[in-house]
């Protein structure tokens, strides 16, 4: 199965073109990184997958079906979503943040506890963090809790929108390791948006470079490194010098 298919997708805000004729397929159970500068349209591509953004033209298929925007919540429950910053709900403690979706979907307490425990240990979050509030956690800890929340329902797709953008390099490297560990334990389709080429090289099986709403190149780490595309060459050079 190909979990996500874009076919000539475009997006306009008023007259402004954000995405232009995007066609791509996301491989199942692989990590795909969408990379580009701020304003390149990479976040918009991600939000099209979970229906936060409705495309102006073209076709988008998720799980080989057209998105049903009327019952979008059902689809989103199968897609984990984690963003940069403190997007944890400030009025709930960490346990409630992580388990909210499971509770609302009537999981048993036991099952919830078990799943939460597994996830927290996968991202090295201590047990006593459960009763803490987001503001009591460091940025890295918050990001780990955010990953647990997104993974709670064991979604088939996991979307990360600059999820590690605000972290210091050491913490970032730790979380990268943990993410790869999760991926080897329970493989799933991961699509991550980032502006950090190092991160993409470290994690992604496949990299999509976007500039001005157009896909410049799709390829593996080596293909991107040795690209002949003018923009990609410039982009790689700028980050590695």
């Amino acid at each position: 199965m190909i979990p996500v298919i874009f076919k000539s997708v475009s997006k306009y805000y008023n007259e402004k073109k954000i995405l232009d004729d995007i066609s791509l397929e996301i491989a199942e159970n692989k990590i795909t990184a969408i990379i580009g500068r701020s304003g390149s349209g990479k976040s918009t591509m991600l939000k099209i997958i979970n229906g936060l953004v409705i495309p102006s033209g073209g076709d988008i298929k998720v799980f080989e079906k057209k998105i049903d925007y009327k019952n979008i919540s059902e689809l989103r429950l199968q897609i984990g979503y984690s963003v940069q910053g403190t997007a944890l709900f400030p009025h709930m403690n960490i346990y409630d943040n992580i388990t909210l979706l499971a509770k609302l979907n009537k999981w048993s307490d036991e099952k919830i506890k078990e799943r939460c425990g597994i996830l927290m240990s996968l991202v090295s979050l201590l047990e006593d963090f459960k009763i803490k509030y987001p503001f009591q956690l460091s940025g890295g800890e918050q990001q780990r809790a955010g990953i647990c929340r997104a993974m709670m329902l064991n979604p088939k797709i996991f979307l990360l929108d600059e999820a590690f953008g605000a972290l210091d390099p050491t913490t970032k490297a730790e979380i990268h390791k943990e993410l790869l560990k999760i991926q080897s334990t329970e493989p799933r389709t991961i699509v991550m948006v980032t502006h950090d080429l190092h991160e993409a090289f470290r994690l992604a099986d496949k990299i999509i470079v976007v500039e001005k709403g157009i896909i410049q190149q799709t390829g593996t780490k080596d293909e991107i490194k040795n690209s002949t595309n003018e923009f990609v060459k410039y982009f790689v050079k700028a980050q590695f010098e």
Partner: protein, 493 residues
Amino acid sequence: MMKKILLILIYFTTTVSIGQTVKVGAKHFNEGYILSEMLSLLLESNGYQVERKFNLGGTLVCYEALINNEIDVYPEYSGTISEAILKLKDKITFDELKKKLRETDLEISNEYGFNNTYAFAVKKEVANRLNLRSISDLKSHPEIKLGLSYEFLNREDGWKNLAKVYGLPQTPVGLEHGLAYKALEDDQIGLTDVYSTDGEIPKYDLVILEDDRNFFPKYFAVSFYKSNLDGKIKNITAVISGKISESEMQKMNEEVLYENKTFSEVARNFLIRENLLVNNTGELKSESMLSQILPKAVQHLKITLIALVLSIITAVPLGIFIYIYSSFSKPVLYIAGLLQTIPSIALLAFMIPLFGIGIFPAIVALFLYGLLPILRNTTIALFSVDPLLKEVARGIGLTQYQRLRYIEMPLAIPTILAGIRTSAVINIGTATLAAFIGAGGLGEFIVTGLALNNTKLILMGAVPAALLAVLTEIFFEVLERFIVPKHLLKRLS
């Protein structure tokens, strides 16, 4: 056998008359209170229950209350009825007035005896210095500052026509009648309108200017009621007709004002003196200040609380509605804002033709008043929840209801609570004005105190009301601590 039937009949008729409640109104000043208390005592001594609705304000409020059966009877003045109520242009005699009323469903009793006419009073010293004897003499003294009651300024038989008839050049200022004597004494005004039976006239050493053009109609005090009032009640109250002279009335007014007697004491003493009480069993109650304040404070809280709860259960859902359907937000907030700009006393007055007097219209007015702060805070709070959180809540698959229930509302609660708190405090203040339309509460002391120029009474209402407002603030502060997680409170402040 006959005896038995008779006994049953007697039993039946007495229980009927005992069970019957008569609602007695009062005009909003000393004399009105004394006379209304007399009617009430007479009715009570004849076995009736009396509901005293004494804080009705001026003529039109009393009249509206009578028309809407909020009260059954109140003491009024013949001149007021012909000019302010029937709006007759020409002066008519007392008998003509009675005849005129026969065309309506209203009726008056025979006059109590005295004529309490409007009059102009100045200090004796000023009158002598400027050689003022009659109202005409004012023409040559345009420098005299007139401080007139609001009612007198606006009546048919008040300032406008009087100024025309006498050709007076002064521009008067309006002030509360109860404050006018103090203003006269301190020379802040040179002249005010008084009632000829006011107890202050001798006390402040005032003289009354002669109405040399015979402008003022006669103001004979009478009982005013609908013609379908029970004949028995008419007869019971009629016993004071012809019994009260002008000097007696002045004396009674003076007793209340300067001898520290309550108006019910003065009214009772008069009736006892005149031997008019059928059975004088009821003892005069002397209550401690706390036992007087407490029931009014409870009533005050009750009115405020009911209105507040209604405001909350209306404004919070409405706020959520206009958050979801945001195209409604402007018109709804605009209307709620408009309600807020109506002065509270005007909003209360506006309730009378719609809902009469008493608790209900007061609650409606307070409810309308309390809407905006809660409504505005609810919508603003919901609109200003961090957009990233809203997007994530959508992105992870929460439905609109779930987002509202688990994310947006909990985050909006501190701000909504602040709105409710504002409403509560505003309402406690505004509820003091509700006494003007007979809703009771702590405002009753203030209204009575203003009418009687009694500072102690005013404070008996004002201090507990202020205290209630402070307690409300504290209550909400504690409530906030319970409901809102600490770190969210910190973020707010």
